[in-house]
């Protein structure tokens, strides 16, 4: 090798001996440890593909001798967090919510955990911000159909509303007055209902409607439209309307009735989750 060293005249550096039409390549040798580093990375790469999932096969991939999987890692992490929270979750599950102090770790755990229970199970109807929609109550305001205490909310979550699945579900049914009253009578009743919350109305019709209201509606909604929580009968004298407070919507509601259903969550959520979502809902701004 040494015999055939050829120096480039201008730079004084050895050439590789390669010659392309008079063009020669200088040889500035790489450090040898660099080469060993390359070999080490190759060895590492091969070992890695043996140890970890790597090579794609037709229907799967090689699993790696360490048995590692990203799904398994996530499952481990979830299990670790659950184990870490087991004690506080147990404490929450057996707690009496009405006496649970707000600075109790179980209370804080409940509010935080309830938010994710809500997003997973409730937000589909009540909205991710709990603002509800037409027919689905807004849970942020101070108006509650069946009551807004911790106890009321917990019962509603556990048993649901007007469902067949749970015999203890909250239950009531407004008659479809289209079958009981004439069109003019319904129109008059609508005008009276409009007076209850101070809306524009036809005074003459409303006076007729007042009698009909007392006969047909006051038993549940109260004489002044103050509502009745035992029946889930909405208050008609406030600014909040589940289906709408305008003349057309009220006519529809009285004629055909409404039948809002909520499933029971007792069978689907565990005790801690029910209490957590109850705490979460109660502190959204409208809890009683």
């Amino acid at each position: 090798m040494a015999d055939h060293k050829e120096k480039d005249e201008i730079t004084g550096i050895d050439t590789t001996g390669h010659d392309w039409d008079g063009i020669k390549e200088l040889n500035n040798p790489l450090p040898r440890w660099w080469l060993w580093t390359l070999y080490a990375t190759i060895v590492w790469a091969i070992a890695y593909t043996i140890a970890y999932p790597a090579w794609p096969l037709i229907n799967s991939a090689t699993g790696g001798v360490l048995g590692y999987s990203t799904r398994g890692e996530v499952a481990d992490q979830i299990a670790a967090v659950d184990a870490q929270n087991a004690e506080v979750a147990q404490r929450l599950a057996s707690a009496d919510l009405s006496t649970l102090a707000p600075d109790d770790p179980a209370h804080r755990y409940g509010v935080a955990g309830g938010a994710s229970v809500f997003l997973s199970h409730c937000s589909q109807c009540h909205g991710s911000g709990a603002a509800g929609a037409v027919g689905y109550p807004n849970l942020l305001d101070d108006d509650w159909l069946w009551g807004g205490t911790l106890e009321d909310i917990e019962y509603t979550v556990r048993h649901g509303i007007r469902n067949e699945a749970d015999p203890d579900a909250r239950w009531s049914q407004m008659p479809a007055f289209g079958e009981l009253l004439e069109g003019e009578e319904i129109a008059a009743t609508v005008e009276h209902v409009l007076t209850l919350s101070g809306k524009d109305h036809d005074a003459a019709l409303a006076a007729q409607g007042a009698i009909l209201f007392e006969e047909q509606c006051a038993a549940c909604h109260g004489e002044a439209g103050e509502g009745m929580r035992d029946q889930g009968a909405p208050r008609l004298s406030d600014a909040i309307w589940l289906y709408g407070g305008d003349r057309d919507t009220l006519t529809k509601t009285i004629t055909y009735s409404r039948f809002g259903v909520m499933p029971p969550w007792g069978p689907r959520l565990d005790e801690a989750e029910i209490k957590a979502v109850t705490l979460y809902l109660h502190q959204l701004g409208g809890g009683e």
């Binding site: 010659d19 040798p29 450090p31 305001d141």
Partner: protein
């Protein structure tokens, strides 16, 4: 293509061993002081105490990753103030530009950890195995009991230095005395041991064996620096117009024709990069200036003026070859480029110091809840909800009163666990989140307007210090 006969030349080369000789002189002394200073700063800083009161750590310099805080003497940086760190990094960058454009690779030659620790490792090597000639002999000698003993002693001392170096690093991230005790009693966290292990290994290998290879093959900085150097940048160079033709035989007949260089190889023998400075500027040169000391010593002994090798700029070559005297250093250093870097560097520094002085010890962010934008209450009132985060940047617990100001009539309600309505107590050095409701009565204009401007305030109940944030109220409009 023609291929010469025989085996082709190797494309890979083993490291040429370098045996730097001991040298004495101005720059060597300066480097000893810098080495002592930088090493002392590195090893001792974590153990400096700084009293911040009972609620905060008393370590002067502490990077509390778990608590998301950075403590530097009287300064405490929170994550939202990371721009201070960004500013310091920009200043460090500009500082390097300034020093490189003025003095070349002065960072590499004097203060780079690779240089400082290599210098320390060479010092140990010289102390155990002797100076250059002894080390060359030992290198060439066959393995014997003596060689083994010297090598092992050297490696053990190196390893100890490396261990202390890796160990000191972790003290910046936890309370140093506690961690030191835990490390010794094998109670420290795994991450501390693994960090020490990695840094011990890199220090041992980089300082003991890789040395100039790190600079030549691993570090990008030598390449980047070329972009910041120009004809006036001072670098270590050989005055070939004075030294050439070099020659040893002063007594020979043609001695009169020779330059000042007596080809004694002193400059080459002391070089930790293993180069010959007389070949001109080279990528491998870290401008450690040890060849200047070596050559000055020789020049003094043979009765020639010092400075055959010295700090020069490329521009000097032409002038001095023509016989002009050397230019003073300030004429090289003071030029528009370096002045610009200095001005930029100082500007950022002044801005950072200013920002440090005007920053408040109350932090407030207000996030209006937008899902939904507002809630209608049963009496027709309109309510907006805000998530308010209050940061207490002091070492004492503080109680804040929440208030609002607006041109319209709005009512504020604070959801709080505290004993006082509308008050939020924030523990020392923590952030507290509170939910604030702002309500417009049905008859108020804000209820029907689309947007009403307002400002939420927190006021320290004790000191009346306050902070405010502008936000909006969404009405039905």
């Amino acid at each position: 293509m023609t291929q010469p006969q025989g085996a082709p030349p190797s494309l890979y080369a083993a490291r040429e061993p370098i045996f730097p000789r001991r040298v004495k002189g101005t720059f060597r002394t300066l480097k000893w002081w810098i080495m002592g200073g930088t090493l002392a700063v590195y090893y001792l800083t974590p153990f400096i105490r700084w009293d911040r009161g009972p609620n905060l750590p008393d370590q002067a310099v502490l990077i509390d990753l778990a608590g998301r805080r950075f403590y530097f003497f009287w300064i405490e940086i929170w994550p939202h103030e990371f721009y201070f760190v960004a500013g310091l990094l920009i200043m460090a960058g500009l500082g390097l530009f300034l020093f490189t454009s003025a003095l070349g690779r002065v960072w590499c030659g004097y203060t780079c950890p690779q240089t400082v620790w290599t210098d320390l490792f060479i010092l140990v090597e010289r102390w155990i195995e002797g100076d250059r000639n002894a080390r060359v002999r030992l290198w060439n000698a066959d393995w014997s009991l003596r060689k083994l003993r010297l090598r092992l002693t050297k490696w053990v001392v190196w390893f100890f230095i490396a261990l202390v170096t890796g160990g000191a690093w972790v003290f910046y991230f936890a309370d140093a005395p506690t961690l030191a005790r835990d490390l010794v009693t094998v109670q420290a966290p795994f991450i501390a041991y693994s960090t020490i292990l990695v840094l011990t290994a890199t220090t041992f290998v980089f300082g003991g064996f890789m040395r100039e290879q790190v600079c030549n093959y691993m570090c990008p900085w030598p390449r980047i620096q070329a972009a910041m150097m120009d004809n006036d940048t001072l670098t270590v160079a050989y005055r070939h117009w004075r030294g050439e033709p070099r020659g040893k035989h002063r007594k020979a007949a043609d001695a009169g024709k020779l330059g000042d260089c007596i080809d004694c190889m002193a400059c080459v023998n002391v070089c930790p990069a293993g180069i010959d400075i007389r070949d001109g500027q080279q990528m491998e040169c870290i401008t450690c200036a040890l060849c200047i000391d070596a050559c000055d010593d020789v020049m003094a002994r043979i009765g020639k003026p010092r400075g055959l090798i010295g700090y020069l700029a490329l521009a000097d070559e032409e002038r001095e070859t023509a016989g002009a005297p050397p230019r003073p250093i300030w004429q090289h250093v003071l030029r528009p480029r370096t002045i610009l870097y200095t001005v930029l560097w100082s500007l950022i520094g002044v801005v950072l110091v200013y920002a440090l002085f005007i920053r408040s010890d109350i932090g407030l962010t207000v996030e209006p809840v937008r899902n939904p934008q507002f809630v209608t209450l049963s009496d027709g009132a309109v309510r907006n909800t805000y998530t308010v985060r209050i940061r207490n940047l002091t070492a004492q617990d503080r109680t804040f009163r929440l208030m609002l100001t607006s041109d319209e009539i709005l009512r504020i309600e604070v959801e709080t666990d505290g004993p006082h309505e509308g008050h939020v107590t924030v523990p020392a050095n923590e952030t507290m989140q509170a939910r604030v409701y702002v309500t417009a009565r049905p008859q108020d204009p804000a209820a029907e307007a689309e947007i009403t401007d307002l400002r939420l305030w927190v006021e320290d109940v004790g000191s009346d210090d306050r902070a405010g944030v502008a936000t909006i109220f969404n009405g039905r409009g």
